[in-house]
């Protein structure tokens, strides 16, 4: 899937508190933030960015419930209808013996389901090329990015002014393909 190239103006900060302050300032000035990139999860950043609680866990519950039913019903069908075998004199439908496998299937379905969903949402398929603005944001820099693909020079100057005001250590422009 080809995406249009995007021109990004980004500033790098040396400290997460600087970044948090910058995000607050940007919000106050009604600037449209593309995203922020940090080397580690910064507490308190999500609500400032206006992010909502993830809904992934609802799907996790549904996947788990599907896994549990699938495991349990498959074993029920196999051992009572398809191929009944007596194990150690137990009844065909031996619920306690099914529990461990039901549990495993719950975990398997929930884990795989959530992983696949998450990767799909993020577009992270095998072979996908990493679109990194700057390699230092995986190390010690905190990045705040704006999309300036269709911005006027005036807008860009305004953003640059914002960066210098909020003590960004560095301001760069990069085109992501």
């Amino acid at each position: 899937m080809a995406t249009e190239s995007k021109k990004v103006l980004y500033g790098l900060y040396n400290d997460e508190e600087d970044l948090k302050g910058a995000v607050k300032t940007a919000n106050a000035a009604h600037l449209d933030i593309l995203d922020v990139y940090t080397p580690f999860p910064v507490h308190g950043l999500d609500p400032i960015l206006g992010l909502k609680e993830s809904r992934l866990h609802y799907l996790g519950f549904i996947y788990g419930a599907i896994g549990a039913s699938f495991g349990f019903l498959t074993m029920t069908w196999v051992f009572t209808r398809d191929w009944p075998i007596v194990f150690g004199g137990k009844p065909y439908w031996s619920v306690p013996a099914f529990i461990p496998i039901t549990f495993e299937m719950t975990v398997l379905f929930a884990a795989w389901g959530m992983t696949i969903t998450f990767y799909t949402i993020c577009g992270m398929w095998p072979g996908v090329k990493a679109k990194s603005l700057d390699n230092r944001i995986t190390d010690d820099k905190f990045c705040l990015a704006f999309d300036v693909t269709s911005a006027t020079d005036n807008d860009v100057d305004k953003l640059k002014g914002f960066f210098s005001q909020s003590h960004a250590a560095e301001v760069n422009v990069k085109t992501l393909d």
Binding site: P41, P47, H57, G89, W93, P96, A97
Partner: protein
């Protein structure tokens, strides 16, 4: 640091309420004692039940605190005084357990069938070769060491740990000397608590069913105590906050304790099921009898246990926002606390009822003979039915293995038969029968054998009002001691190296309603 309300004051009003609770508990114990059978089984089981449960809560508080300190945990610094004070109840536990130990030496109670005089003597008519085989461990000396002795060791460790922590407050300049001391006591307590708790629980609870054994039992019952301790912690923290103390303990701290409450509840279920499934699968008569007895005669106790301790915390605490709400957490903690008290009730009562029954038979002269003993041995052999089992219930699967063992274990079969030889024949017949007609025959024999135990009996089949009253009494005693200890030191460990971290503890959970709440708050300013 600008913390207020750091000194807990034990109000005289609270004191009188708790003393009232203790009086109620004592009254209930006396009433139980009066209206009891000749062995005072209900009284002694209630006493044992609450002693083990509340001492266990103190023990697991110490264990949990030690684990936190050893793991360099910082988030709990603000609430560690709560655990330190809870753990000091082991001192009272020592006195409570001492009564049980004296009872064993003086034969004042019949909680433990292995303690019956003459039971390990081969020339005695009541000789029990299985108990005789275990008498190297199941004897009064080991009982004293395993309960009182080990509890004293734990208490000493918890005393030293708390001492090091409280003395730390007086440090003039910041140094790590008291902290290092705490680390030593905490780290050395972990193996002591971990290994010795197994012996403690084998002696005090598992030996009520001396013929039965389970390698999962110590794990399972210790986790049960731990959940009792955690739920108590949650309730106490919320209570203290409602009084205006612990204001720096936030919903983030509660969230972390909630995760433990959730995770360990699931772990408890795992162990509960593990113990059940291993026994169910192996189908060993002498092991399955334990669950057969409980599933058939104590169904509410048996299934209620799972409902209270697994289904409720699992479904409610699964969401992350519920672990951060004080009301919801208090509600769940209350259920889990009651649930694990119920769990210990379930562990203790059915076995003790059988022990009393056996003691009665011995006193009435309906004793087990050598013939019956060998019969029991034969009946205890695992019975793997090779025919296709028709029934599809769990209980029925156990059935096939054990009706012979059940009859022999309770000796009713022996009591009903005119002569030992006849009993032998009847049981042998029963054993053979269940190859073909396990169901009908087994059902019948079993109905016959358990007439006495099957009927509902308050205080045994289910906790009655006297049990609840006794629990309130012990709870009041626990809380009285806890508040007393809590008021003797600052609520904040001022010189704890992790205090700052604990005050800024955040789980990073993003909850929509909380974000809205905070935004509303900000707008207001």
């Amino acid at each position: 640091m600008n913390l207020t309300n750091t000194q807990f004051v034990f109000q005289s009003k609270t004191k009188s309420v708790l003393i009232g609770g203790m009086v109620l508990g004592a009254l209930c114990l006396i009433l139980t004692f009066i209206g009891d059978d000749e062995y005072h089984t209900r009284f002694w089981t209630n006493y044992l039940h609450n002693t083990v449960f509340f001492t266990g809560i103190a023990f697991t508080s110490m264990f949990f605190l030690s684990a936190q300190i050893t793991a360099f945990a910082g988030w709990d610094s603000l609430v560690k005084r709560v655990w330190e004070s809870m753990s000091q109840f082991m001192m009272v536990g020592l006195a409570l357990v001492a009564v049980l130990v004296i009872g064993v030496w003086g034969h004042f109670h019949h909680l433990y069938h292995w303690n019956t005089p003459g039971i390990t003597d081969p020339s005695s008519p009541i000789y029990d070769h299985i108990i005789a085989g275990k008498s190297g461990f199941l004897n009064a000396g080991w009982y004293t060491l395993g309960t009182l002795g080990f509890l004293a060791v734990w208490f000493f460790w918890s005393y030293k740990l708390r001492q090091a922590s409280v003395e730390q407050d007086t440090e003039e300049t910041a140094s790590l000397s008291y902290y290092k001391k705490q680390r030593k006591w905490a780290a050395s307590f972990l193996p002591l608590g971990g290994f010795l708790s197994t012996v403690f629980i084998w002696q005090s609870v598992m030996s009520i069913d001396p013929h039965w054994y389970s390698t999962m039992f110590a794990w399972y019952s210790m986790i049960s105590m731990w959940l009792g301790g955690l739920s108590m912690t949650v309730m106490l923290i919320i209570y203290l906050k409602s009084l205006g103390y612990l204001e720096y303990v936030t919903r983030d701290h509660l969230h972390d304790i909630g995760k433990y409450l959730f995770g360990i509840s699931v772990f408890w279920t795992y162990l509960w099921f593990d113990q059940f499934m291993l026994i169910w699968y192996a189908n060993n008569g002498e092991e399955t009898i334990y669950f057969k007895e409980r599933m058939n005669h104590y169904p509410v106790l048996f299934w209620g246990n799972l409902l209270l301790n697994f289904v409720t915390p699992f479904l409610i605490l699964m969401r992350n926002d519920t672990k951060r709400k004080f009301g919801t957490m208090f509600f769940v903690a209350l259920i889990v606390f009651f649930g694990h008290w119920w769990d210990y009730f379930y562990m203790i009562k059915p076995g003790a009822r059988i022990a009393a029954h056996e003691a009665k038979e011995i006193s009435e002269g309906k004793v087990k003979t050598h013939e019956a003993t060998s019969l029991e041995k034969a009946a205890a052999e695992p019975k793997m039915s090779t025919t296709e089992a028709q029934s599809d219930t769990v209980a029925a699967a156990m059935h096939a293995a054990e009706d012979g063992a059940a009859a022999a274990h309770h000796e009713e079969a022996a009591a009903h038969a005119a002569a030992p030889a006849e009993t032998h024949e009847a049981a042998a017949h029963g054993g053979e029968a269940h190859g073909e007609a396990a169901h009908g025959e087994g059902e019948h024999g079993e109905e016959h054998g358990h007439e006495g135990d099957k009927s509902f009996k308050a205080g045994f089949t289910l906790p009655g009002f006297l049990e609840l009253g006794t629990m309130i009494g012990f709870l009041s005693l626990f809380l009285f001691f806890f508040f007393n200890k809590l008021s003797s030191a600052s609520l904040v460990p001022w010189k704890d190296p992790y205090l700052e971290e604990s005050m800024h503890h955040e789980t990073g959970a993003l909850i929509n309603t909380e974000v809205e709440e905070n935004q509303g708050h900000d707008d207001h300013h």
